[in-house]
Symmetry: C2
Subunit: 147 residues, 2 copies
């Protein structure tokens, strides 16, 4: 009987990285709202709880969390990296209109097949969709009604 949501402490302890207050706040900033904040946004959130934390430390912590596998770094084109604590395999959708990012479940069985040269060792697959989110798509098909 242990399906209770894991605490950030437990997650970090399990992952093997040293538990520090800074890392805890950074991780919680990511877990509290499961959107896809940039390092700067994480910094601002962590600062609310620990005003002395520095941006460099947030970058350090995010790196440590990413390395240890507790967090995924998500990139789209060359805009700031975003961070995602959802560890279930999934893709990401980036809205060109409002910039929102959301997780996209992938059906493992239905994936398109890709052919890598024999001998290549694929360790990571990333699926990135771009387009308009429902809200922005609607706006663009309903231009200002010419009354």
């Amino acid at each position: 009987m242990q399906a209770l949501p894991e605490t950030s402490d437990a997650a970090m302890t399990r992952s093997g990285i040293r538990l520090t207050p800074q890392r805890r706040y950074v991780y919680e900033a990511l877990m509290e709202r499961r959107d896809h904040p940039t390092a700067l946004e994480v910094f601002l959130r962590a600062k609310e709880r620990m005003p002395s934390i520095s941006l460099a430390t947030v970058y350090n912590c995010l790196d440590a969390l990413t390395e240890s596998g507790l967090v995924r770094q998500v990139n789209c084109d060359r805009s700031s990296s975003r961070y995602c604590p959802n560890l279930v395999p999934h893709g990401h959708f980036f809205c060109k209109g409002c910039g929102v990012v959301f997780d996209v479940p992938v059906n493992p069985g239905n994936q398109p097949a890709w052919e890598v040269p024999s001998g290549a060792d694929v360790s990571h697959v990333e699926i990135t969709l771009r387009g308009l989110c429902p809200a922005c798509a609607q706006k663009s098909t309903h231009p200002t009604s010419p009354l």
Copy 2:
């Protein structure tokens, strides 16, 4: 009867962007070796034919070509963007060992592989693989033999 490879001029004219010598050299730098050069590498190649060209112009040209759809910009994590003139839909493989990038043919499956919220308008899908290319994979499984 026109399956002959299209000239860069023809491609640009068709795409609707204005044909300038700089754009021509940039495009040819991409077509002559179909690897995945960075803007800097394109700059160096274009410079061989037009020593006066500037890096800023190469960036401008690559943007224009990308916008007009003649070229694709390809990103991996936060390393320099790379450019790819292969317009057939495909994914990209990035080798963590030697940094080589190559195209990966993708056979679209017949089942939807991902689920976007209804109303979202997906305009672009990108598939990125990371791992070790055959050469690097072999090196890493054959560590220095302890004689």
